[in-house]
Symmetry: C2
Subunit: 338 residues, 2 copies
């Protein structure tokens, strides 16, 4: 099969590799219908995370089940499925509490930017759609595998509900999905922090009521100004830098919560800052598996259209261009067809 392999920073290639096969009785084998490049794939691509040996890459996927192991009970060959970027057994205390990404037996899913993918712990990881989806639904379904599930988790964990005032730090695909999630969860006011015209436009389309293009102190001051000096009830931190976290905490009202889903790189939160502001902080790798049934239903019924975050679609063979376009911020998110 053809698969994407990262060899070294900015050296990403499509290669012919052995087809994966069922290795454990709990595995499923998928023929990938669509995959994409994640903001977090850019960390190793840029060399910020170490790349010590050639590494199959990609963890967002939708596809059709080709085969399943003997112990798999909930999905069967021929079904169209979506899965999380972390495989989970679905039965441990953390899974039952809705934190499948903290599963006691979790395994990473890696190598999804390929024609075929082995998914471990299939029963606890994959969810099938009601039927074969129409082609135009596939991009939105694909986002549920990571970015939309992650934006949704950020909003849920920050306590967004009917009437909330929400600030969103980060205008990447996750931040934009955070805007969409906040709207769907009933937020009344959604302040998107973005300096890029195309992203501002999509944020408004997804339900943002205000755009703040300032950053740092000025950005915080603008959010305070827009909220009568009170701050946001909930802030979604969708970047992962120390500056973004600082900005998120300071934009939030006392008693409000920062839901953070940007993979942290060098974030240090001062206990004194948190104490003085009365702001709660909660996040982590989104347990997207927990939200899949609900979000599949919303996409299926046409209630949400997160697939709009894809502004570049390429055949898998052009994966290198997909990475370049995202690295250079020419694209928000690149959709790949094997």
């Amino acid at each position: 099969m053809r698969a994407t392999v990262l060899h070294a920073p900015r050296d990403i290639r499509i290669e012919e590799r052995d087809d994966p096969a069922i290795a454990e009785p709990t595995d499923a084998l998928l023929r990938i219908s669509a995959t994409c490049v994640c903001g977090s794939d850019l960390w190793p691509y840029r060399g910020i995370n170490d790349v010590s040996e050639p590494m199959p890459i990609g963890h967002e996927y939708v596809g059709v089940v080709e085969a399943v192991g003997d112990d798999v009970a909930t999905v069967r060959p021929g079904q169209f499925v979506i899965g999380s970027f972390v495989a989970s057994d679905g039965s441990c205390p953390h899974c039952r509490a809705g934190y499948q990404t903290a599963c006691m037996h979790r395994q990473p899913v890696l190598g999804a930017q390929a024609e075929l993918l082995r998914v471990p712990l299939a029963d606890g990881t994959l969810v099938s759609t009601p039927d074969q989806p129409a082609a135009e639904l596939i991009p939105s379904l694909l986002t549920l595998s990571d970015v939309m599930g992650t934006g949704w988790f950020a909003a849920v964990t920050a306590g967004v509900g009917p009437g909330s005032t929400v600030a969103v730090v980060g205008d990447g695909a996750v931040g934009l999905c955070g805007v969409l999630s906040a709207r769907q969860l009933g937020a009344e006011r959604i302040i998107a922090m973005s300096r890029h015209e195309a992203r501002q436009k999509l944020a408004l389309e997804f339900g943002a009521t205000d755009i703040v293009s300032e950053r740092g102190d000025d950005g915080v001051a603008r959010v305070k100004e827009l909220t009568g000096e009170v701050g946001a009830d909930a802030t979604l931190e969708c970047v992962g830098t120390d500056e973004a976290m600082r900005q998120a905490i300071r934009a939030t009202r006392p008693g409000g919560t920062v839901g953070f889903v940007g993979v942290p790189h060098g974030v240090r939160i001062g206990g004194e800052d948190l104490f003085r502001t009365h702001v709660g902080v909660r996040g982590g790798p989104a347990p997207v598996r927990h939200f899949l049934p609900e979000l599949i239903d919303l996409v299926w019924r046409g209630r949400i259209d997160p697939g709009k975050v894809f502004d570049l679609a390429l055949p898998l063979d052009e994966v290198a261009e997909a990475y370049r376009a995202m690295d250079e911020r020419r694209a928000v998110k690149a959709f790949l067809r094997p």
Copy 2:
């Protein structure tokens, strides 16, 4: 009047000072019935916080209203009242949201270890008891001014509810009140982390179901062992050191919350640690004013007896001995009678 003044680290004296008087129309003047020494008073006493000039000290108090300013509407001379350690106007958006310690017009209350005390913003700060209290209720009512309100906030903000498994880090008066709060809020399992026999005994009396005397890694391992490797649903961090915060986060289950009320000194939370654990962190100076009506009612009906945290009672004139006893950990908390 006689009042306590901290002159320099470990130099604390009772002095004759001018009686305070009504200065603003929103002030109340109290004759202090009882006051006490707070764990946080020990920070300047020990010289960890700066003492640049002689400083009246004390912020926990119950007393009888002597006089009120012209604008005060909710309390009147002769009433027995309890107030927060932070004066709040009761009407700003943060007060209305239940975060009176973040009041936009907040003022510190200082100098409560004295015979008389001026309390600013009396309407938003003080709550009267249903009647003059019996003498034996006064210690419990006094704790509502800070430590019990703080332990209660830690438990509420950590999401403690019926059936919760709770870990409490810190066996000072606040930690012990946290145990009592968790029991009152319906926790099923309460793990008190303490190495001191007398404090362990009081924790058990207050409702702890398990005592963990280990600290650091060993303490975390013991909590995990007691909870089937899951961790606590809610952990109350009642110390304020980096080690205590670290321990609290690691003792908590994914999706659980650390309610932190120990005034942080050098606490740095790594974003990566928080991300990986899925633990929420929320705290701050407890808005005890918010909880006063509910907690006064619980004390008045004999449902809670937080006054048991006082294991030393002295006349105000012996305040120096009260500080020494707490500094040397000979006493959990010292009660003072002016």
